[in-house]
């Protein structure tokens, strides 16, 4: 329990709400000596803010956006929805730059057993209709995901909360089905934004974020003005315009011509060109988003682990990082925990491209000189087309013939992914190792793309989730990562950076491992240079 109290205090200092002196005083009360308390503070210190001026307008262009865009958190599905959400609403918790949960609407939280939790809400957060944000709002908005007719993709993640009630105006008590030390991090998921008690129709949303929505046209543009009644650090910009420009060339041209100040979704192929363009800067941020191959273990030919190992050894990882991601990526080691995650196990030896080992395993699998079908699509992941072709070439020295089929993007997720034995796939960043591993590898998970089912792994997942001791927890995650690497159906190619771009007169756009769209600080940090 004292662990989480210290963490919330560190976070409060980082956000400038608790002075160093107060921190030391309180740390002393908890029995922590002065020297150690000082060390704890520097752990949480974020990078210095560049000097931004107050005023002006920031125009953002995103690569996602369509007529299904929504202002209703239960319908958030794309990054433009997330970006807009952090500008308009206040989440219960937010992710700091070390991927840890820090206070937002909830100013502190506690739990003795990681099963029963109490979240203490700030008392100074006001909605745009004048009312104060209370525990009732939290309970109502979260319960919307669990409703029977809910169409929310977040429902499976929230089902572990079996009891949720408001205890007075400013305390929310939750009881979980099983221990989960990561519960505060779960609420950094954009779908779990807190909205107004009673609001189900979002044509005129009531908001309490750093900006207020002025106009919204789904799939086209949203205009937001600074909310001067905001509880936190006021945003530098007077106005934010978020426009959807799906065509990458059009988006980059518009940035270079000065029509936008910030753009997302910079393609690796044009990185060099963009870096040379005058007045434009590239901002890259290591992330846990990754590209991978998915091999289904419940059907031929990938049900044979020797074949899976062969396919993993054939993967030319370093080449992918260099050619497809232009160096803006970190090599994957066939499990989904990224080097940016505190639970990343660096003891596991890094697997490399090894056609000889691949040949050995192919022979054992009886597939020497054989062939296999690989399915890919432009929508599968960043660089999916190049990945499939490079892999085909890399497979030749091992004597394996790879037949590549490019599937049309709008039917990929229904006809190829989780249907064909061997496909190219990719995952967006997830805030915790537990979430990522559960979503993709749990035996009964609906997104278990490899259909790999391992009881010991499932048990470890549950045990690690409820384990509060960091070292013990890390050891469990290490074991899980090893199991995946040796037996699993996922060959992770690389964790590629998120790359965005901005005009040179824009400042305050610091990298964040959650990505720009999930960076809770973006709206309150970005502005024009002073």
């Amino acid at each position: 329990m004292s662990n989480t109290k210290i963490e919330t205090m560190i976070a409060a200092v980082t956000r400038g709400e608790l002075s160093r002196r107060d921190f030391m005083a309180r740390a002393g009360q908890l029995g922590i000596g002065a020297g150690m308390a000082n060390g704890l503070l520097t752990l949480g210190a974020s990078s210095a803010r560049a000097a931004v001026k107050r005023g002006g307008r920031i125009r953002v262009a995103t690569q996602t956006g369509g007529t299904a865009d929504s202002l209703d958190p239960t319908k958030f599905l794309s990054t433009v929805d997330y970006l807009r959400a952090y500008l308009m609403y206040t989440p219960l918790t937010a992710l700091d730059r070390k991927s840890r949960a820090i206070p937002a609407l909830a100013e502190s939280w506690e739990s003795d057993d990681a099963v029963n939790w109490a979240f203490h809400l700030r008392k100074d957060v006001e909605w745009s209709d004048g009312a104060k944000t209370t525990a009732k709002d939290v309970v109502y908005s979260l319960q919307r995901h669990l409703a029977e007719k809910s169409e929310s993709p977040g429902k499976p993640m929230l089902e572990q909360v079996i009891e949720m009630k408001a205890d007075g105006d400013h305390v929310v008590r939750m009881k979980l089905a099983a221990a989960n030390a990561d519960l505060p991090t779960l609420f950094t998921t954009p779908q779990f934004m807190i909205t107004r008690d009673g609001q189900d129709d979002f044509t005129a949303p009531i908001s309490n974020g750093p900006f207020t929505l002025k106009s919204f046209k789904a799939g086209v543009q949203a205009v937001l003005d600074r909310n001067d009644n905001y509880w936190g650090t006021p945003a530098p910009a007077d106005r934010m315009e978020v426009t959807s420009v799906g065509d990458t060339t059009a988006r980059m041209n518009a940035l270079m011509a000065g029509k936008f100040d910030v753009v997302t979704g910079v393609d690796h192929k044009i990185l060099d060109l963009l870096k040379k363009a005058p007045g434009v800067d590239v901002v890259s941020s290591p992330s846990s988003q990754h590209a991978n191959f998915a091999m289904m273990v419940d059907r031929a030919p990938t049900d044979n682990n020797d074949l899976r190992l062969a396919l993993k050894y054939i993967s030319p990882r370093e080449k992918f990082v260099k050619n497809v991601f232009k160096g803006y990526a970190q090599v994957g080691n066939d499990h989904q925990v990224a080097p940016t995650d505190p639970f990343y196990c660096d003891e596991i030896p890094q697997r490399h491209y090894d056609p000889d080992k691949a040949k050995f395993h192919l022979k054992k699998a009886g597939m020497a000189g054989g062939s296999i079908d690989l399915y890919s699509s432009f929508q599968a992941t960043s660089g999916a087309d190049a990945i499939a072709l490079l892999y085909k070439e890399a497979a030749r020295p091992a004597g394996l013939e790879v037949n590549v089929t490019m599937v049309p993007p709008d039917s990929y997720w229904t006809t190829a992914w989780m249907q064909k034995a061997f496909v190219v796939s990719g995952w967006n960043a997830r805030p915790t190792a537990d979430l990522m591993l559960s979503i993709a590898n749990k035996s009964d998970g609906s997104w278990n793309e490899s259909q790999w089912k391992n009881k010991h792994f499932d048990d470890l997942l549950v045990a690690a989730r409820g384990e509060i001791d960091f070292a013990k927890r890390k050891a469990m995650y290490c074991e899980m990562q090893k199991m995946l690497q040796e037996d699993g159906g996922t060959s992770v190619i690389a964790f590629y950076d998120e790359i965005n771009a901005k005009r040179s007169n824009v400042a305050g756009m610091e990298p964040h491992p959650a990505g720009l769209a999930r960076n809770a600080f973006f709206g309150v940090e970005v502005g024009l240079k002073a």
């Binding site: 007529t67 007719k149 809910s150 929310s152 429902k155 799939g219 041209n253 609906s446 997104w447």
Partner: protein, 315 residues
Amino acid sequence: MLRLVVTRLLLGLLVMWVVSVLVFAATEILPGDVAQAVLGQGITPEAAANIRERLGLNDPAYLRYFDWLGGLLSGDLGHSLASNFAIADEVADRLGNTLWLAGLAALISVPLAVTLGLVAAVHADTLLDRGISIGTLCFISVPEFFTAAVLVYFLAVKLQWLPPLAYVSQDPALGERLEALALPVATLTFAVLAHMARMTQTAVLNVMSSAYIEQAILKGASRIHIILHHALPNALAPIINVIALNLAYLVSGVIVVETIFNYPGLADYLVQSVAYRDIPVVQTVGMIFCATYVGLNMLADILAILANPRLRHPR
């Protein structure tokens, strides 16, 4: 004449009905449905089932088709499956955008094309004629995204004379709208010039071998006079048909230009809706495009008849 118009109208309605059935069937055959398209990789069986329940997608196909048809005939265009917004509002918005783009492009390209065609006809077999022929052929052979890319690179990024995206705020001033549409209109003009110009030239030159032209030459009329006063009026029918075809294309076929310039028009709406499997929208926009083709074709035929005195006053 009246009988002709009524017959054509009825035939047009029949064509539109057949097209509506074909479009519906084609979209149904595509794998996946709107629940899968909207939820994408984030799909859970429960969320998908709830979406299907809410949108009535569990009803059999023919029932859903007749539901839609009934709605259309009673004036209710329904709601988009992906966004739940009223289709009528969204379509009206985008139709306005499309008409502005198509209208401006037509206003510039049609007179320009006909003039070029006539110039080529007047100076047949000279360098000017060859030049116009080859030039317009080059423009039509180059894909629109290439023309657009070249125009945007020089005029928008390097010189910064014009905006690279055709975005306008709500209720823009005329000047702002013209500036935003300048590059898309230029791209489209290059794309449609060749067809109309070459047809004009060919139709006029075809007529030049008639007896009355020979008479005019013998009478000593200048070439320009002959072409403008004697040949052109008789060659109008095929020219009008080609213009009608290109106008219909400007309304329905300009998806590449709309994507590159991020212009929210009807073609972009249609493509997005097919990707989302948003059937009511696909049907509605499909009907609009079909009506455009049918209507413009009918108009072309009527004008062709009116232009020919022998057909205007049948004996």
